[in-house]
Amino acid sequence: MRGKSPMKVAVAATAIALFAAGCQTDSTPEAPAAGGTIRVGSSEAAGLLPGFDDSPSIVVLRTIYAGLVENDNNDGKVVNQIAQSITSDDNKTWTVKLKNNYKFHNGEAVNADSFINGWNYVAYGPNAQPNAPFFGSIVGWSDLQSEDPDGEEGPQKAPEPKAKTMSGLKKIDDFSFTVTLAEPFVGWPATVGYSGFFPWAKACLADTKGCNETPIGNGPYKIEGSWRHNVGVTVVRNPDWAGASKGKPDKIEFKIYDKIDTGYADFEAGELDIWDGVPPAKYKEAKGKYGERMFENPSNTFTYVGLPLYNDNFKEVKVRQALSLAIDRQAIIDAVFDGRFSAAQGVISPNFEGYRPGACANCKYDAAKAKALLAEAGGWKGGKIVLWANAGAGHDKWLQAVGDGWKRDLGIDYELKVDLQFPQYLATGDAKKFTGPFRLGWGPDYAFLETYITPLYSTTGSSNSSGYSNPELDKLIKDAAAAKSIADGIKFYQQAEDLVVRDIPVIPMWFGRTANVRSENVKDYVYNKIHGTVYTEITLKDPNAVK
């Protein structure tokens, strides 16, 4: 559901593409813009500043801001935008050179300070910017964080952090600076296309509150008026934009909907030109109704059922395998989602380099094998199995189907615990208090298969919620990081995937599918496989259809 995984990062293609993309941004003069107003369904954003964003924010931010790099609309490859070049000799100290002809909407030049000051602001702990962790790999980040001062005696004033600026950020001149990372990371330049790395105008840093309402960006569009909370955001073409593509529509209206069903209803009523994400229950109907006007593409969101390995009932591998084998994924997808997902064949997105179809032998429905494995493991001893999901997001239905399957094929009765609101649900997971299988999702931070392995399954993985720990896998990850080439690295990660699908710390369920619909008035629909619909490139048949 929209906005449910707010801090989703959607960045960049593979690291190899980066070096090739040195300097190829020169603009061929654009054909006259198509004009008109396109109306886009959206939802209320967390903020319109690069430091505090979620997916609805990013939709807007990508039209009014421009980052160092962007992803090509055709192949998703990383190309430079504001950056002239991003280079490094040791993958540890990166030199960023900027083009000098970009300006903020208020006339300020986009220069090295715009990046350095902005990034320092976001990283500085007391500013409480949720995007702060994105700068965590830069030297000196931890000096900007304050210690948690609260003891048992009561709240105390947090001490000032040691520094206000990261020592790893150094200005060379107005249009170049260096970034020093704590650990070498060959993929770092790919991450800076993410909206958290967008530059900040001076005026914006001086008045963040005002700038959140009326953003001062540096992108092809600029805000008209200010953010009308819970109602909409309107952006208009920025005539001073120095970038290559000038943007097609004159105006983009983002209309804010609180519920996806309401937004979709408004699309059906002809109030929107673009609606991204048809409600699952209406997918089949929409497919028949809109045909050509529905755009479908595999997506990278991974849904899995985590298993609490900290619970004795799930310690036995064969039990976990049996549970996974007893799920008829395709039947669930067809019945509950009208076929809107692709059953998982492994734990890596089908869009990613290194994906292998059928990698997961335990993900194919095989009731007999499941039964046999469970018998070998000595049967199920945990009584009723409790299936967990957060409330109100429509997960209960498919989890129930999973439970029904177990009941039917393995004779394990189940109950659902799907009444926790999201915060409570996540907190329960973080505290490792799930008493049974739990639903979670995962979106890639960058388009490199590593993002599907390390955070989820390494012993120290930031989002390892099942408590899986396998030294063999940890070693493979280390080896992959030390690999000479990307291709070598992929092999190590594939071996790691093999371990995961054998041990089943999580039961892979499926990968998503985008289903975006558009009105009859839309002529050219442009889709970027990294960011989704590119609103700035959409043209209309009749630009004057909406006054």
């Binding site: 801090m7 989703k8 979620d54 609260d150 309402e213 519920k259 309401t262 002809g270 915060p423 955070p455």
Partner: protein, 346 residues
């Protein structure tokens, strides 16, 4: 009269404090039992502990008592009261102020409540008008002829409205009326947009700030309409048998006047009380209705605050609602004295 009002206003204080504490306690226990709500901002991915701590501290949710189950967090409550006393209602998790009275006049000081309130006031007025006019009318007609077909059809249709859950009602209306019928209207050239896109639009529209609230208002009003109709019916039915109605007939007055003046005026006294109180009830309905029809009002914000577990927003909105309710109550009581001269407040 003046002294009565002052006494009533003084009674507001314990009620408001009590409600504030109730909500403070419930949200506090909620956090104690379920953990830091800010964690949810980061979704399925786990945030850096430093960042989580910084946000938590910034939003004043770092009080250690929030980790001790059952602790009423009186210190935190006192802090909140002091802040509220200074008209500082805190912010939501995105640092938007919950309430700033200047927001009514100046966009630069916009806040959640000042943004949302105008929509809710509008939708409430629509709902109230519908409830009062339609409810009283059909209740009156039914009450005049008890046991007749109209009485039963009113009874059955009001019961239908009561028994069908609001969200079903809202979704049915959205499907059949605003989408199917609305699309038909939108296909007709001659129908003005204010009707086809405004009144029969699927969601609230800025271009039609009033028209597009009519259907949500009707859905909202329908909930209490049933109660109003039934109450009017009972009240009219009882008053029809009152001695003074017989006197009015004996005075040779027309049937219309006997009903319209002598019966109705008396029957409306309990109905007016109920109408006043239903304004408070609209807030519950608004949580669902506003969400379904995408009205950016108080109900919508309440729903969001509940699901995000934002204590400051919940407490801020509740404070406002309690005051609205209490003032409405007071007005109803004063109105009572106007409607019924036998009542005097000392």
């Amino acid at each position: 009269m003046g002294r009565y009002i002052v006494r009533r206003l003084l009674q507001f204080i314990p009620t408001v404090l009590g409600t504030l504490f109730l909500l403070h306690y419930l949200t506090t226990v909620g956090i104690q039992l379920t953990g830091n709500p800010i964690r949810a901002l980061f979704g399925d991915k786990r945030p850096a502990p430093e960042t989580l701590a910084a946000l938590t501290s910034r939003l004043h949710l770092d009080d250690p008592c929030l980790k001790q189950k059952g602790n009423p967090c009186l210190g935190l409550f006192r802090e909140r009261l002091v802040d509220i006393g200074q008209l500082d209602f805190g912010t939501n998790f995105r640092f938007r102020p919950v309430f700033d009275w200047r927001g009514f006049f100046d966009r630069a000081h916009a806040s959640i409540i000042t943004d949302a309130l105008p929509y809710t006031i509008k939708i409430t007025i629509i709902a109230f008008t519908i409830e009062a006019l339609v409810g009283v009318f059909i209740g009156m007609r039914a009450g005049m002829k008890p046991g007749k077909s109209l009485d039963y059809s009113v009874k059955i249709s009001t019961v239908m409205v009561i028994s069908v859950p609001v969200f079903v009602l809202g979704i049915l209306i959205q499907q059949f009326i605003t989408r199917d019928f609305g699309n038909f209207l939108r296909g007709q050239e001659w129908i003005p947009e204010v009707i086809s896109r405004g009144v029969f639009g699927s969601a609230y529209k800025q271009e039609f700030p009033f028209a597009s609230l009519i259907i949500p208002g009707i859905v909202l009003g329908m909930l209490s309409l049933a109660t109003t109709a039934r109450l009017t019916r009972t009240s009219v039915h009882e008053n029809m048998r009152a001695d003074y109605v017989r006197t009015a007939k004996a005075k040779g007055l027309t049937h219309k006047r006997v009903i319209g003046v002598h019966t109705l005026r008396n029957s409306l006294i309990p109905v007016a009380t109920n109408l006043g109180l239903s304004i408070g009830g609209y807030m519950t309905g608004a949580i669902i209705t506003e969400t379904i029809f995408n009205v950016p009002g108080v109900g919508n914000q309440t729903a969001r605050a509940i699901f995000q577990g934002e204590p400051a927003v919940l407490i801020g909105i509740t404070t406002m609602l309690v005051l609205v309710y209490l003032v409405a109550n007071l007005l109803v009581d004063l109105l009572y004295a106007v409607l019924d001269p036998r009542i005097r407040y000392e």
